[in-house]
């Protein structure tokens, strides 16, 4: 194929990519959606607008502005109609091209190699019309690569056939699909060990079946002891989150929650007993009682956290069969989750103050999850390596999980020597501001706020001393210091993209920061970004990481031998919410 923009000749069947609206060469293969597509698009939008519209009809008083809602609905319908009319797709030799939009036009090219799942969704209405919603999904990202809403069953079958036929080196054996996109491949609704024996087992195609065969019987890598489960509850403090959520729900109604009958009774009881207690005791006793009550409440919260942890992480175990990592945990609901080791993108080690107190660390995994896996929630996604593990066991456990990880051999590089100065200055500025506000508000007692500078400066020192990065043949590691310490471990070949960034403050001090991105859904919101690097070091590091990312991507493409998907030979239609998974 020549490098020039295809001007109609479309060599080797690559779809025309010229000026939008110019259908040169496309006519023969161009496809549209089903003529009734607009209806389904509209229904999809109406589902979201149904409640307001009903409210308008029921409570409306015929005011002029209420008509605006109707006008908006009509405009929406018109827009849906026009957009569905403008939707075109066609198949090249190696890619699917989708063109849509009337004013804001988009032409999307999806290489076949990146399509790993073809998902059909059929509701009763779809079946009445003999159509289906088709979603083409890849491993990463939160959105499908393409959504076709809706096409006829015949068109869907044609598309599947074309996908299968036009890919030159489609792996015929289960092994090919097995390797998938080298760690990005996600079996949609394919039975992971989590749902072994599930209802859809019979309908899933051969490749998925092959995936279940383990290389050898699984060995146990880690088991969470009862004591550590309790400790995890104490550390996680999820009880606080639960109580906060409960308060949120209570007050969300807008009214006074005391109006609720059950709570009213409780509130009255509390007030009366408190009143009689206050009347009968002196100030010292009251302060003591208040302190006891406060401590008691905090203990109760921690106790609640422990109960929650016992329920969710009961008998946590991590197994490995040579290829696939599996976790299993839970008391009332037993959750099994798994991922092939190749899908592991990043491991995060967390160590807070309580962790340090107990001599433990938390190990979380980031796994490349497909769209459906994300949408379906946490069930099948591997999240933990170990919720809580003794610090001394961490290196061995990580090496067992991923032989490329050798924690002790990492050569940690410090950040810029002026990092402490910047952090400390920022802390002092914040403390000064806080003190000024407090002094203005309550007088000289506000000066006590100056004491907060002490833990702040300790945090700054810890941050500056502990924050570091390391790069070896296998691994890129970022350690973010502080009272809560985070370590990110990323296999070099898993890096998706690299960002070099400098804030105005960074530039004033000749610094910059480097972020690496991995696929999947992160369990830890913090990104693996090294802050406060010397600008030259940062640029050099970014260059090396970029090269690693490019090499990793190349290796992945080569290993997969493109394409990494395979269409199934059998379908499962028995899914409850009408989803037909064609797992690749």
């Amino acid at each position: 194929v020549s490098d020039g923009p295809p001007a109609g000749s479309a060599p080797q069947g690559v779809a025309p990519t010229g000026v939008p609206g110019d259908p040169i060469g496309a006519g023969a293969r161009e496809r549209r959606l089903h003529p009734f597509s607009w209806l389904f698009v509209l229904l999809g939008q109406l589902r979201q607008m149904a409640l307001p519209l009903v409210a308008l009809l029921v409570f409306g008083r015929g005011e002029w502005w209420e008509l605006l809602g109707v006008v908006a609905a009509v405009a929406l319908a018109a827009h849906a109609f026009v957009v569905s009319l403008s939707f075109r797709y066609w198949l090249g030799t190696r890619e699917l091209v989708v063109r849509e939009g009337l004013f804001d036009r988009t032409e999307r090219h999806v290489p076949f190699a990146r399509i790993q799942n073809v998902v059909q969704r059929q509701t009763l209405l779809h079946r009445l019309f003999g159509v289906t919603e088709l979603r083409l999904e890849s491993a990463g990202g939160a959105n499908p690569e393409a959504v076709m809403n809706v096409v006829t069953l015949a068109a869907a079958a044609e598309l599947e056939r074309a996908l299968r036929d036009e890919v030159p080196s489609l792996p015929a054996t289960a092994d090919g699909a097995e390797q998938g996109l080298a760690g990005l491949e996600t079996p949609v609704l394919a039975p992971s060990p989590a749902d072994g024996g599930g209802p859809q087992e019979g309908g899933v195609a051969g490749p998925a079946r092959g995936r279940r065969r383990s290389l050898r019987s699984p060995t146990n890598l880690f088991r969470l002891s009862l004591g550590d489960t309790v400790r995890f509850g104490l550390i996680s403090n999820r009880g606080m989150v639960l109580v906060a959520a409960a308060f949120g729900v209570l007050f969300q109604g807008g009214g006074d929650p005391r109006d609720l009958p059950g709570l009213r009774w409780l509130w009255d009881l509390l007030r009366e007993s408190l009143g009689s207690f206050v009347d009968g005791h002196g100030p010292v006793e009251l302060v003591a009682a208040g302190t006891v009550a406060l401590v008691g409440a905090l203990l109760l919260l921690r106790l609640l956290s422990v109960v929650l942890a016992l329920n969710s992480l009961w008998d946590f175990r991590l197994d490995f069969d040579g290829e696939r990592l599996t976790t299993e945990h839970g008391l009332l609901t037993r959750i099994r989750a798994g991922a092939t080791r190749a899908k592991l993108q990043q491991i995060a080690i967390e160590e807070g103050i309580l962790h340090r107190w107990f001599g433990r660390q938390t190990l979380r995994a980031t796994v490349a999850a497909g769209v459906v896996a994300v949408n379906e929630g946490d069930g099948t996604r591997l999240r933990w390596i170990a919720p809580l593990v003794e610090k001394g066991r961490v290196p061995a456990l990580l090496t067992a999980v991923e032989p490329g990880i050798l924690l002790e051999r990492l050569a940690w590089q410090p950040i810029h020597p002026k990092a402490f100065g910047r952090r400390a200055r920022r802390t002092c500025q914040l403390v000064a501001l806080l003190t000024a506000v407090l002094v203005a508000a309550v007088g000289a007692e506000g000066l006590l706020a100056l004491l907060t500078a002490v833990p702040g400066l300790f945090a700054a020192r810890r941050f500056a001393r502990r924050t570091a990065w390391a790069l070896d043949d296998e691994l890129f590691a970022v350690r973010l210091g502080g009272y809560r310490e985070l370590v990110f471990l990323v296999r070099r070949e898993k890096i998706q993209a690299v960002r070099l960034r400098a804030t105005p403050f960074d530039r004033r001090h000749g610094m910059a920061r480097v972020l690496v991105d991995v696929a999947g859904v992160s369990e830890v919101a913090t990104a693996a970004e090294v802050p406060y690097l010397d600008a030259r070091v940062a640029r050099e590091l970014a260059a090396r990481l970029a090269a690693a990312a490019a090499a990793g991507g190349r290796a992945e493409l080569l290993r997969v031998g493109r394409p990494g998907w395979q269409l199934p030979t059998a379908r499962s239609l028995a899914d409850t919410d009408g989803q037909t998974a064609l797992a690749g």
Binding site: T106, P111, S138, G141, D517
Partner: protein, 249 residues
């Protein structure tokens, strides 16, 4: 795989094919002939030019690196655009990094948008002050404030446009942007999941387009190259996917 041996592929790299852009007579000239103001040149400027010869040096005081010569991708020595076959990784490494031409209208668009938005913001602040709170602001102050805000916004937009740079490296695409908060995002070509070329009504009128590269990443999942010429965007898209398919990237 067969892509690698296709004759037009590699020799064409320094001199890629003509984009389907009516105004663009010369899609690419040798880097030596590249104009110094790559970002805002006339529409007949080359599609690609060596970044060292363009905005990179102009923006040197602002760049993140203290040493603009250290490039994130290539050898420190000035790369030669006549590097041999790109089919082998070694040869690919010898390829230079190209700066993609930005459509000159983009700068105008950004400035106009900045003026409009800052004016609206000024209205949103000044109107409640005067009408609701009854603050006695003289008309002159209102107008002067508006002029100041709009000028600052326009200057910022202008600076953003000058700093905005899209590069095609041998193994991926890099986008540099930001005036105060500066960033450089690199996406390897081999990591691209799918691409989009997007055009609004104004884009179509001006032959401008936005190329969006999607990766599987969490934080940098999409990389937008705005303000490319439409022919360039399509060319770049095809080239990236092409090389991906050929394994040469």
């Amino acid at each position: 795989m067969s892509r690698v041996s296709t004759p037009p592929e590699d020799p064409a790299l320094p001199v890629p094919a003509v984009p389907a852009e009516p105004g663009a007579a010369s899609p690419l000239s040798p880097p030596a002939a590249a104009p110094t103001e790559g970002a805002a040149g006339p529409s007949t400027q080359p599609v690609l030019s060596l970044p060292e010869a363009t905005t990179h040096q102009a923006a040197a005081p602002n760049t993140i690196s203290a040493e603009p010569g250290v490039r994130a991708d290539g050898p420190a020595a000035a790369p030669t655009p006549t590097g041999g076959s790109a089919g082998t990784p070694a040869a690919a490494a010898a390829e230079p990094t190209w700066a993609l031409a930005i459509h000159p209208r983009l700068g105008t668009l950004w400035v106009v948008a900045a003026v409009v938005w800052s004016s609206l913001a000024w209205l949103a602040v000044a109107t409640p002050l005067v009408v609701v709170l009854g603050v006695p602001l003289p008309g002159l102050v209102v107008v002067a404030g508006w002029a100041l805000v709009a000028t600052l916004a326009a200057a910022h937009a202008r600076a953003s446009f000058r700093r905005y740079r899209c590069e095609l490296a041998p193994d991926g695409v890099r986008v540099c942007r930001g005036v105060f908060w500066q960033s450089e995002v690199f996406v390897p070509g081999a990591r691209i999941q799918h691409t989009e070329v997007n055009q609004g009504p104004l884009d179509r009128r001006w032959g401008m387009a936005k190329l969006v590269l999607h990766t599987a990443g969490v934080h940098l999942g999409t990389l937008s190259l705005v303000g490319l010429r439409h022919g360039d965007a399509a060319w770049l898209r095809d080239r990236l996917l092409e090389r991906q398919a050929g394994g040469a990237l």
